[in-house]
């Protein structure tokens, strides 16, 4: 396993060995009891422990699922036990048996979806489907800052990179707060960061450009949410020597789109024609059907349909395909006229005083919905008034797209995974 840098004094490799011993002891105990090897859900408050747990799962070939303590709600716990998982809580030192025994499938790495609409779904992957970088060109040695929540697809992408690609190190901040993460990055001189656009905007809110430029970054990867042109340009200007890449991935379909040309969206040439059957097993195939992105991918999770509906609205504009966001949330219906929230966001973000914004439909009498926007201003910037922002939008957007409701916030709201929450 690659070297893992961490931000406290405990030796990561020592901790990994301890967890491996623990998991093996659990496995032996099950065998001794004559039990079938049940899948194992491993919980902890400590990200380094959870990395060790993944390494142990890889060694033992147990079916496993990683869940950080903050995601282990009563509903999640009950769901895991009902689905046949033993729950091993490393922080509490407890093992809870499942409500039922399910047949092992061996070597399944199980991920939970974000669960924004209820109890998270459990999606099964294998090491083969999770390791998506095997076909990529050479990797330069990098020290990566891990900004993602443990157990998510993006987090596994970082771990498989460290596990299977030589020369890669991970820096795991003890706390996933962006301030602590950037402090860890500065301390350990990370050379690569993979994170959401919201992570970077929170960093811009807390640190000066001069402080951030002290990071010797050679690779910046954006993902986890829609990537806009403003953040791509800002990062490239801040780090001219770095390659700025953005990735589209989902837990079900895996990593599907990697864009390196510094532009929002992806080239239209990457779309497959309808009915195209010549997809190789090595590359994902993309289609836009009725305004929705569909994917056929060798990196898809186990037991998925051949073609996966991403649930994301997509639109062809000129030579690019733009991903607009979740189908049910990204389109605002203003009196029968459809407005893509991201088109309004793009314009607002171009305002020199604006650091972050979130555009959404606000239920309103007569027209059904009006466009609304939450805004956070850049630190030390001269703030703009509602009238100024409305005028700025009016210069490039039709009247029905200009927000009618503005909320000025002091901080950027985020999910546990450092994304902007969808309203």
């Amino acid at each position: 396993m690659a070297k893992i840098v961490e931000t406290n004094q405990v030796k990561a490799d020592q901790q990994t060995r301890l967890i491996a011993d623990l998991v093996r002891a659990f496995q032996k105990k099950q065998v001794a009891l004559g039990a079938r090897l049940a899948p194992l859900a491993i919980a902890s408050r400590d990200m380094v422990e959870l990395v060790g747990a993944v390494a142990s799962l890889a060694q033992t070939e147990l079916d496993g699922l990683i869940v950080p303590s903050e995601r282990l709600t009563i509903e999640v716990r009950d769901n895991l036990l009902a689905k046949g998982y033993h729950l091993l809580h490393l922080t509490e030192g407890t093992v809870t048996p499942p409500e039922q025994v399910v047949p092992p499938r061996r070597g399944r790495i199980c991920l939970q979806t974000s669960g924004t609409t209820g109890v998270p779904k459990i999606i099964e992957h294998t090491w083969q489907t999770l390791f998506t970088m095997s076909k990529l060109r050479e990797f330069k040695p990098q020290n990566w800052l891990v900004t993602y929540q443990a157990g998510t697809y993006a987090w596994y992408q970082m771990l498989t990179l460290a596990l299977f690609v030589p020369g890669q190190s991970l820096t795991l901040p003890r706390e996933r707060d962006p301030v602590r993460a950037i402090e860890a990055a500065l301390q350990h001189e990370v050379t690569a960061i993979s994170g959401t656009p919201t992570f970077w905007r929170m960093a811009f809110l807390q640190f000066s450009a001069t402080t951030l430029q002290a990071l010797p970054l050679r690779q910046i990867t954006l993902g986890g949410e829609r990537v806009d042109q403003v953040i791509l340009d800002r990062l490239q200007s801040l780090y001219p020597a770095a390659t700025v890449t953005h990735i589209y991935a989902s837990t079900e379909a895996g990593a599907c789109i990697i864009v390196r040309d510094g532009r929002e969206g992806f080239p239209i040439a990457w779309l497959a024609a309808n009915g195209q059957a010549s997809a190789s097993d090595e590359r994902p195939v993309l289609q836009v059907r009725d305004g929705t992105l569909w994917i056929r991918s060798p990196h898809a999770a186990v037991d998925q349909a051949e073609w996966i509906n991403s649930g994301d609205a997509a639109e062809i504009r000129g030579d690019r395909v733009f991903i607009l966001g979740r189908e049910d949330k990204s389109i605002i219906n203003v009196g029968g006229i459809k407005v893509a929230a991201c088109d309004v966001e793009r314009r607002i973000l171009e305002h020199p005083s604006v650091l972050w914004c979130r555009v959404y439909g606000r239920k309103a009498p007569l027209l059904g919905q009006l466009v609304a926007s939450d805004v956070v201003f850049r630190p030390a910037a001269v703030t703009a008034t509602e009238a100024e922002l409305a005028h700025f939008c009016n210069q490039h957007l039709p009247e029905y797209m200009v927000p009618r409701v503005w909320n000025f916030l002091d901080t950027i709201p985020t999910t546990d995974n450092l994304k902007t929450p969808v309203t």
């Binding site: 606000r362 309103a364 009498p365 007569l366 009006l370 009238a387 409305a390 009016n394 009247e399 409701v405």
Partner: protein, 81 residues
Amino acid sequence: MDRATVLDLMRQILQKQGKPADITEEALLQEIGFRSLDFSELALRIETASGRQLDRTVRDVLDFMERAYLGKDRRNESGQS
């Protein structure tokens, strides 16, 4: 919410869009550029201020229309246009 407050809200909505906001009750909506989007925003602002949804039920619509009709009749009776 009284008429003066609603009139002030209308002025704010016009002003925000860079339109002349010095309006009187006699001003024609078409001439001052107060359109359906502005009506919707005005209704939303009234909802927010009053804490009451304006068009939740059919009765709400009927009450609104009835009040508007009766109000107009009263104004006509008292010599207002």
